[in-house]
């Protein structure tokens, strides 16, 4: 769309004003007057109520643009969207979703896009009038304000304070678009007839620097015309009111003396209140009436005992809660997962899940069948964005219920969070009607936070399957918090399960990894909770489960080294009173371990090593390295460009918490270690040294650390730098 001569006559006029102020009536009369003057006019109603063109058509527009969007037949004749009204005025209504559902702002955006695609634009008409929803509540409703649409903005207001407040708000919105550009023609004063109204409006108009273009007096004639679905200009052409519109149009269309344009200069609220209501509110701490409230918020204390509150700074979110929730819930084999989202989100998360399942299957050396999972998505399209997606969600739930799966989880992406789909309500209704649990996980994409926040939401949702505490006590364990995206999850579990079988301890449930609804439900029996790791989220999850089921938490996370495993087995055996079995298991493994470590030590004693980690706990690395007789020159945690420092646990006094990359390279240069063990890529130009990677998810068990150590030992006998690095 090209801009016309900036001096006018103006061709594209946006009419804004508070809801109910008479904006649609006034904009329809403006269009009618322009048409009477012989101009071709396009009138676009941008309000979901789609009643802007009623007075021009004599009826509600039967085909809104969003209706067209909903019907989605590409062959639909789009000329139906443009209805010819009074005196040849082309009338379009954007329409929108039903109140309370969908996203009307999205509807407006879609409207303009569809009109553009169809070539229905203002360039075919001498004048275009946009009648816009009163409250510019989101970017969608501000579309007509964009510079490629309106050349001129008129603000309709009365002299009442709330109307002026809304007008001032609109100026703030315009200012966001225009900064130093002048596009406002002035104020159309739609008088209510109050005694001080004229004076209030005058004050406002002077303060914001906008002229009052016309005063439309309060008049029954508008009501009469409305009753007949007509404009005043058409129904009462000889009336005073009609002549006022003609004068306004004469000014707006004058080429000899074009209407000036002004910049948006909104007032701050204090000034507005003071100006119009004569109230000085600058001294008060709140804009509401002061009411004493007996409430003391809990605030963290500072060192000197005073309370303080700071809004925490927000670091970037890594991944999204939507993906996190789906990842953990997909581990319940006989649960259906419905992702309420566009296809793009479903593609990303399904690829993640299937890839990680594939890798885990391949690495575990398990030759049986891979565990399937069931994930469908609602494929939110443009229609669902505008009108809401609950209908499609219900259909998806019904379809899912046809499978043999025993529970359905609904996880929401970003879009339904913005459009406001009531997932909880829908889930509750469908659960009642289908007679199976339909559990909503309203993470709303990133609404709940990042990937790990999502995993926690998923865990919490699945715990709804566990009925509180009537199950009695069982000699069994629940394994909590396995890292299901690692490629050794199954291999690690297989190893541990051997030990547990040797101790005659069954696994009641792997929460949540390759498990079933039955197993999760059976967690209502008290068992012993085995945390898979010692990170914060696993411990928190363990506590939640403990509280729900009454189960105790084993104090040791899964072991990686021989000694950790001995401690783990011994303590577990003690709890279950199978000490003799524990001792037998340890004895069996110890012999083999001693043999293997002896072989390794022949190659490693006296070697010097630097250890650096960007995140995972490295205490197991220190233990195995020391056991193999190596000298640790330095060990530290590298500060990540993205992760917060306090996530890293300092479990060994010799580990430096703030080990920088530069310091690492310096140490390598200074100390010339035989080996560096790290979690990051090292630039061979800066560090010409043999280095091995520390796995993020180490192997567990008696021989877990040893398997890594074997690989690191073999690196000691390879070249310092492999040939291929020279070509990077």
């Amino acid at each position: 769309m090209n801009n016309k001569d900036p001096e006018g006559p103006f061709t594209r006029i946006a009419v804004y004003g508070k809801g109910g102020i008479g904006k649609s009536t006034i904009s329809a009369n403006i269009s009618a007057t322009l048409a009477d003057e012989g101009y071709s006019v396009l009138h676009i109603g941008c309000d979901p109520k789609h009643d802007s063109t009623r007075a021009l058509l004599g009826e509600l527009h039967p085909h809104t643009v969003t209706d067209f969007l909903r019907s989605s037949d590409a062959r639909t004749d789009c000329s139906a969207l443009v209805r010819t009204g009074y005196n040849g005025i082309a009338c379009i209504e954007a329409g929108g979703p039903e109140p309370g559902v969908g996203c009307a702002g999205r509807g407006i955006l879609s409207t303009f896009e569809i009109l553009g695609r169809m070539g229905i634009d203002s360039s075919r008409y001498m004048y275009t009038i946009y009648d816009v929803l009163g409250d510019v509540v989101c970017g969608g409703f501000a579309v007509p304000l964009r510079r490629e649409y309106a050349d001129l903005i008129l603000i309709v207001t009365s002299g009442e304070y709330m109307s002026l407040y809304a007008a001032n708000n609109i100026l703030r919105g315009i200012q966001n678009f225009d900064m130093n550009i002048n596009r406002i023609g002035g104020i159309i004063y739609n008088s209510r007839g109050g005694s001080e109204e004229d004076e209030q409006l005058k004050k406002f108009s002077d303060a914001v620097g906008l002229p009052i273009l016309v005063k439309i007096p309060r008049s029954e004639i508008f009501l009469t015309a409305e009753k007949h679905s007509n404009t005043v200009v058409a129904a009462f052409p000889n009336s005073l009111e009609a002549s006022l519109f003609r004068e306004l149009i004469s000014d707006l269309t004058s080429t000899k003396k074009p209407v000036s344009r002004y910049r948006a200069r909104p007032l701050d609220v204090i000034k507005l209140e003071s100006l119009i209501l004569g109230r000085d509110i600058s001294a008060s701490s709140s804009f509401s009436h002061q009411v004493s409230v007996n409430f003391k918020p809990a605030m963290p204390k500072t060192v000197d005992g005073t309370g303080c509150f700071r809004v925490p700074e927000k670091p970037p979110l890594f991944g999204c809660a939507f993906a996190g929730a789906i990842t953990v819930l997909s581990q319940i084999q006989d649960a259906s997962i419905i992702a309420h989202c566009p296809s793009s989100c479903a593609h990303i998360v399904s690829n993640l899940l299937v890839s990680s399942h594939n890798r885990d299957h391949d690495k575990s050396g398990y030759h049986g069948k891979q565990t399937p999972f069931s994930l469908i998505h609602t494929g939110m399209d443009e229609k669902m964005m505008v009108f809401g997606g609950i209908d499609r969600l219900k259909k998806s739930i019904i379809k899912s219920a046809e499978s043999e799966n025993r529970v359905i989880f609904i996880i929401s992406g970003c879009a339904p969070g913005i459009t406001g789909d009531d997932i909880e309500g829908c889930s509750s209704d469908m659960s009642q009607s289908l007679g199976i649990p339909v559990i909503p996980v309203s993470v709303n994409g990133i609404g709940e936070g990042d990937f790990s926040a999502g995993t926690m939401a998923g865990y919490q949702a699945s715990l709804q399957l566990v009925k509180k505490g009537t199950g009695g006590k069982r000699k069994s364990v629940v394994l909590v918090g396995e890292k299901i995206l690692a490629n050794n999850t199954s291999a690690n579990f297989n190893e541990l399960n051997q030990y547990l079988s040797a101790l005659d301890i069954p696994v009641l449930c792997r929460f949540l990894a390759h498990t079933t609804v039955n197993e999760v439900e059976s967690m209502n029996k008290q068992s012993l909770i085995l945390p898979a790791s010692s990170d914060e989220s696993t411990l928190k999850l363990s506590e939640i489960i403990s509280e729900k089921t009454g189960s105790d938490i084993f104090p040791y996370s899964l072991p990686f080294t021989f000694h950790e495993t001995v401690r783990w087995v011994k303590n577990l055996a003690k709890i279950f009173r199978v000490e003799d079995k524990g001792s037998a298991l340890i004895a069996l493994k110890e012999k083999k371990y001693r043999e293997e470590i002896g072989l390794i030590m022949q190659k490693t004693v006296g070697k010097r090593v630097i250890i650096s980690s960007s995140g995972p706990d490295i205490s197991w690395v220190l233990e195995i390295v020391r056991e193999c007789g190596m000298e640790i020159i330095r060990a530290g945690y590298l500060s990540s460009p993205y992760l917060m420092k306090d996530k890293q646990k300092i479990s060994d006094i010799s580990i430096i918490p703030d080990y920088t990359l530069e310091k690492l390279y310096d140490d390598i240069k200074t100390y010339r270690p035989d080996l560096v063990l790290t979690t990051i890529w090292l630039d061979h130009k800066k560090a010409n040294v043999r280095y091995g990677m520390i796995p993020f998810c180490p192997n567990v068990g008696f021989f877990g650390a040893l398997s890594s150590m074997k690989h690191w030992t073999s690196i000691l006998f390879g070249p310092v730098t492999e040939g291929w690095r020279n070509y990077l």
């Binding site: 702002g105 955006l109 964009r146 979110l317 991944g319 566009p342 296809s343 299957h361 998505h377 990937f451």
Partner: protein
């Protein structure tokens, strides 16, 4: 059981732009949308830089070499993304010489931010193409196609007429794009036809500027190219060909595809036909080795999930050339109607139409699908093996550019099939 959901229009638009080497996509999105696409773009562009947050600690990129993003959070959905957009554009302005395409993720597109205004205020209208509405849940090929048209509209090609053709419909989103481009270009050159540009598959903006000088647009995959073809026709009167037998997969369709292009240009594909004949002989002797012992591949079941321009020639070839039987065929969204109808007719003529619309069907020996889903199906015991024909890939590292198209591709397919079945 579910496999990988097909990529949608957002992925198509991103990779459509990233398929042009001197274009960088910026995503107005949370990091969740970015990480996946950044990884895929890096892979598909065959970049040598390593993704690592320590090597690439610069803001917006989160350790990857492609697709910086505005890392939106829930507050941005309420208050808008204007500030972050300004900052990221300001950062990229002086660090990237080429064009930028700024794409809203679906959630961001609901906010209603005027991203065009941000670009204009930054003085970057010439360098930055906004995509405010990426589309929702449409097919990925449509996204590639639409993105290319947007880019061409921005660049405004002005090439002088040349005696060359454009290959359109190839995209880095497809499996084996590089190898396919190489194979098809080679076959055309052997027929005396030179390729001027391959929009979306490695041609840079300068090549695209010259692309309007082409004699003809030869469509490889119409799902990725119809709007592009229409753009060239409407603006530059460049005709396009939709080959009658679909994409050049299998000997028959390869022969047919080259013949159609040559016929339009008045060339003769002697050399290519000879090479196809020679390849057929090689293939036959290898097939015979297996067939003599087991009777295979005749009667083996296969399932396929693909666009119709690929599915039609492949199904036809597997059936007529190898005697394999389709047990499940699913056409992906956005499939070309012409080839869909031809496929349906073919299946009906051979009383095989009951397998249409189901995937993977009953007991397929081989599944032709994306690598990730194929690998899963194999692990689940649904099939004996799979052949990776679409995105996303299985995760196997690939160094030599391969293809499943043309002569080389037909031989590769036969090799894979025989190794799975023997």
């Amino acid at each position: 059981m579910t496999g990988v959901t097909d990529p949608d229009i957002l992925t198509g638009m991103i990779l459509g732009a990233e398929g042009i080497p001197d274009i960088m996509v910026i995503l107005n999105s949370p990091t969740g949308c970015k990480f996946y696409h950044g990884h895929i773009a890096h892979l598909k562009r065959n970049e040598s830089e390593i993704s690592d947050p320590y090597l690439r600690p610069e803001p917006w990129f989160f350790g990857q070499s492609r697709i910086p993003c505005t890392y939106l959070d829930d507050q941005d959905y309420i208050f808008g993304t204007h500030d972050k957009l300004e900052k990221i554009l300001d950062y990229m302005k002086n660090r990237w010489d080429g064009l930028i395409v700024l794409i809203n993720a679906p959630g961001a597109s609901l906010i209603g931010d005027d991203i065009k205004k941000v670009i204009t205020d930054m003085g970057m209208e010439k360098r930055c193409i906004p995509v405010e509405i990426p589309g929702y849940s449409s097919s990925a090929p449509i996204g590639v196609d639409k993105m290319l048209v947007r880019i061409l509209e921005h660049i405004k090609p002005s090439g002088k007429p040349e005696n060359k053709i454009n290959l359109i419909g190839l995209s880095i989103l497809q499996r084996y794009c590089e190898g396919t481009k190489k194979e098809i270009t080679s076959l055309l050159e052997k027929s005396g036809i030179t390729v001027l540009s391959t929009p979306g598959a490695g041609s840079d903006t300068e090549d695209l500027s010259l692309s309007s000088g082409a004699l003809l647009n030869a469509i490889v995959f119409p799902e990725y190219a119809i709007e592009t073809a229409n753009y060239y026709y409407n603006h530059f009167k460049i005709p396009f060909i939709l080959p009658k037998d679909g994409a050049p997969i299998g000997f028959d369709a390869t022969r047919s595809w080259i013949a159609d292009i040559c016929s339009f240009l008045g060339k003769e594909p002697f050399v290519v036909n000879q090479e196809i004949h020679s390849a057929e002989k090689t293939a036959a002797s290898n097939i015979a080795r297996i067939n003599a012992v087991s009777g295979l591949p005749r009667g083996s079941g296969f399932a396929i999930r693909a666009e119709s321009s690929l599915a039609f020639p492949l199904v036809k070839w597997l059936y007529t050339y190898l005697g394999m039987i389709p047990v499940g065929i699913k056409l992906t969204d956005g499939s070309c109607r012409t080839y869909s109808e031809k496929l349906i007719n073919f299946l009906q003529e051979n009383h095989l139409d009951n397998c249409l619309g189901i995937f993977p069907g009953k007991d397929p020996d081989i599944v032709f699908t994306d690598g990730t889903t194929g690998s899963m199906m194999k692990n689940l015991g649904i099939c004996r093996g799979y052949i990776d024909i679409s995105h996303p890939p299985s995760g196997k590292i690939e160094i030599i550019p391969k293809t499943i198209f043309g002569i080389t591709g037909s031989l590769m397919l036969i090799e894979e099939i025989l190794n799975i079945l023997r």
